[in-house]
Amino acid sequence: MSIWNYVVTAHKPTNVTHSCVGNFTGPQELNLIIAKCTRIEIHLLTPQGLQPMLDVPIYGRIATLELFRPHGEAQDLLFIATERYKFCVLQWDPEAAEVITRAMGDVSDRIGRPTDNGQIGIIDPDCRLIGLHLYDGLFKVIPFDNKGQLKEAFNIRLEELQVLDIKFLYGCPRPTIIVLYQDNKDARHVKTYEVALKDKDFVEGPWSQNNLDNGADLLIPVPPPLCGVLIIGEETIVYCSASAFKAIPIRPSITRAYGRVDADGSRYLLGDHAGLLHLLVITHEKEKVTGLKIELLGETSIASTISYLDNAFVYVGSSYGDSQLIKLNLHPDAKGSYVEVLERYVNLGPIVDFCVVDLERQGQGQVVTCSGAYKDGSLRIVRNGIGINEQASVELQGIKGMWSLRAATDDPYDTFLVVSFISETRILAMNLEDELEETEIEGFCSQVQTLFCHDAMYNQLVQVTSSSVRLISSTSRELQNEWNAPSGYSINVATANATQVLLATGGGHLVYLEIGDGILTEVKHAQLEYEVSCLDMNPIGENPNYSQLAAVGMWTDISVRLFSIPDMNLVTKENLGGEIIPRSVLLCSFEGISYLLCALGDGHLLNFLLNMSTGDLAIAKEGELTIGTIDDIQKLHIRSIPLGEHARRICHQEQTRTFAICSLKYNQSNSEEAEMHFIRLLDDQTFDFISTYPLDQYEYGCSILSCSFSDDFNVYYCVGTAYVMPEENEPSKGRILVFLVEDQKLQLIAEKETKGAVYSLNAFNGKLLAAINQKIQLYKWMLRDDGTHELQSECGHHGHILALYVQTRGDFIVVGDLMKSISLLIYKHEEGAIEERARDYNANWMSAVEILDDDIYLGAENNFNLFTVRKNSDGATDEERGRLEVVGEYHLGEFINRFRHGSLVMRLLDSDVGQIPTVIFGTVNGVIGVIASLPNEQYLFFEKLQSNLRKVIKGVGGLSHEQWRSFYNEKKTVDAKNFLDGDLIESFLDLGRIRMEEISKAMGASVEELMKRVEELTRLH
């Protein structure tokens, strides 16, 4: 039974919806803060560029993000409002490096019609109040008192019902808003109101302006000294104030985002729907506005937000393509562009469709998404694995060891790369052109293998070979001092840090040296009973240059030992058991906890906790030692295939090693035929277009499928289309096209006209099942007398509003309807008929459906919820059997466009997680997620863990996790059930030891067991 589901994010949202710049983490620090729907990211501006500081999950979908500074504050506060009517004011505590909540609250009203044009949240520039427009006809005010504290919120009646934008005006004695609205004759106007806080009412404002551009959609308030407002239309831009009115015509465009450049508000960056970036300048003489100027700067991703950063650098956040860091140059490049793109930040959103394939045939799924929109459309190949960027490479064979060294102790970067071979040592260095070239350090012995190298104090380098320890000056590059192994003994293993050297020779001799300025001193010698296999002396104590502890791995008795330094007394010994020798030991500390790691010859890694608190060092005997195999580092690797057009459906065909996509291209220059739709065939290795079938004018590709039919060995691509006529509300005509790939070309084999849009196509019992407007229709593949084939209608089922999403299993058909949730149909072979078996009577507006197993079906709907329904075959009455019972509900906070069975990771069938069925989903915000159906025992265990984690991991801004995950739509809010939040559960692994122990106590399970079980889940994605 797939009732108990675990939902986890494999790829976080990347759609950038908001951004702002200010001094959030410190008065002298400039931060870029960006919102990616349910997360905010805090970046710091540095000489090296944008430095990511923190990724902060928010338990809500962010509707408003604003930095502001109340009077008397040294740094900015962050105001966030969520779509579910919560808000919070966050502050950075630099000492604790924590985000703290200054204020929070609920601004929902019990009655009220949510605004159609989205929520508006604005802060008075003089910090007298926060204004919110959440419901038609109401303006909510949260006043500040004179100490910057928030007071009880209240509503003011707003006469304008079709509000397009509201902003606060600068430089007004009383807080004043400007409202851009549309009247009932579709004309657009602006009007100003003063907010009378005491009377809780509006007072008619100082001015208004009627009959603006019909496309006016955006207000930009202009700060002092100029004040007033810019009204951005589709054909004109207007500057307006009580005393001035200036307008300029612009090339028709829809402005999607703006960013203020100068503090005095004289220049603005405007980003339009086509990704063009303009500079808008208010020309003025002293404080009098004389006119407007606009200049095209160049092209970026289609911007959803623009933030001027510093020194001509600008952040362009995008919902439709990758976000960018750009620089505004003084002079145009060869193409006439003043924009230079310096950095790209991946955005998979919107994921409109995707498929799961195994291109390399390695048993590991890869996801190929239709990502982005308009000109920024692309395919993205997402797979698990580490991505390493090759910076430089040299061909060398037989490398035995490699170390990086610095040219001087204080250098920030390493300069040298020492590469050791069996009978020589060579040194490489990055030259000024960033190329790797061979160099020489005279003091190094280069005719032998190097056992160990390290930087040492006083600008020195240490090289250990089998016969000696050499101390070399890194400035003069000459040998300073040498320690020779006693004759007859050769050095087998060695380690060093900035001030110490430890080495072992044959016969179990352990020698400890200290490094001085130009001198090596033998301090201590110890004789062990067996040969030494590995050593480490990494300083993890207070002194970063000196270790009081050495770890030694032994042959023969297979043990690791700890010695105190410099006296070389045995502190403790741990027998590892087994016959595999320790090959490498390492003293290290993670998050303030010290560990001894020990790697064995068979790939096992053992870790020991070190107790360093008492001064004597001992291996803490807490619990059993943990033995685990190291997983490969798993990280999603993303390859981009820019298309320059918008791919909307994708399908893979194994037999021909091709992909087929439905795409549309926007033609900006020619307004007559603005859109062109294509079916394109792509090679599945190169992703080149190898064949194209253009669709008719107004014809959209709606669905695509690779399938074969009964009594026909060929594999076809079937495409469902719709003729979208401007005058029709719903398409009344469409086509099903059947293609064969021959000689790498799409050959149209058959075509069938339909009476509506073909929203979905499925292979079904050797036939083709199509969802066409209100109907589910089954087609047979018939051989005609002339040897050609045709699609012939067999039977159908009416009774949907729009049958948008269809999945099948055996003879069962699950339909996701536009607004009537999920229904279950059955195909009856004998009668040749499709009948409804059961339905969910809730009014969910579906966005995707999938079949989890025979009885459980999964749905996603347009309020960002997930739910599961169960077929009730054992019901006593027809009425009961005819009802799909809702068994699981969960608020995901993401709009899912597609579910697909499959997995992003290699699934080993012998492991526990290998048995867990998973479904992958893709969302508008670029999230790739996994829904895993857990066995009941596991589900109950993790449900308990989740409720314990809720007590320990707090919601940022005081937002509640329980409320966030509750199923929510206009009609009801109910607690989540039978879904678990994997993101919360897996964050257990990020907790400090103390918090883990807290949870361990509450769970009645050891920390190690909890970690092991959570780590297992992380292997699902």
Binding site: L30, E41, I42, L45, P47, G49, L50, Q51, P52, M53, L54, D55, P57, E98, V99, I100, T101, A103, M104, G105, D106, D109, G112, D136, G137, Q149, L150, K151, E152, A153, F154, I156, R157, E159, A196, K200, D201, F202, E204, R267, L279, V281, Y308, L309, D310, N311, F313, D322, L328, N329, L342, R344, Y345, G387, V952, K954, V956, G958, S987, R995
Partner: protein
């Protein structure tokens, strides 16, 4: 064009001065650490947990009007003020004539 472009604002002239642009075909892979607060200051002081006024906007309007009507009877000296004030509820009166949504 030169006059419009240039003279870009600078908060700290060092910012971006040492930026090494990455290969544009390789997107930035820098990912920040995910924040999981375990401290108690995610909850603000009690007086900063904000809620909305419980009184319905329409009721508030009635009460306000009732108060305004009462006021002139108290003292003649206040007459000027209510008369002056009498003007702006009118805007809301017309607003309240539109059906509540």
């Amino acid at each position: 064009m030169g006059s419009l472009l240039g003279d870009w604002p600078s908060f700290d002239p060092h910012n971006f001065s040492q930026l090494r642009p990455s290969d544009p075909s390789n997107p930035s892979k820098m990912t920040p650490v995910t924040y999981h607060p375990t401290h108690d200051r995610t909850i603000p002081p009690p007086n900063q947990v904000i809620s909305s006024e419980a009184k319905n906007i329409l009721l508030r309007h009635f009460y306000q009007r009732a108060e305004d009507k009462l006021r002139p009877k108290r003292a003649a000296s206040e007459l000027l003020t209510p008369e002056h004030r009498g003007k702006h509820p009118r805007a809301s009166t017309s607003a309240s004539n539109t059906p509540p949504c």
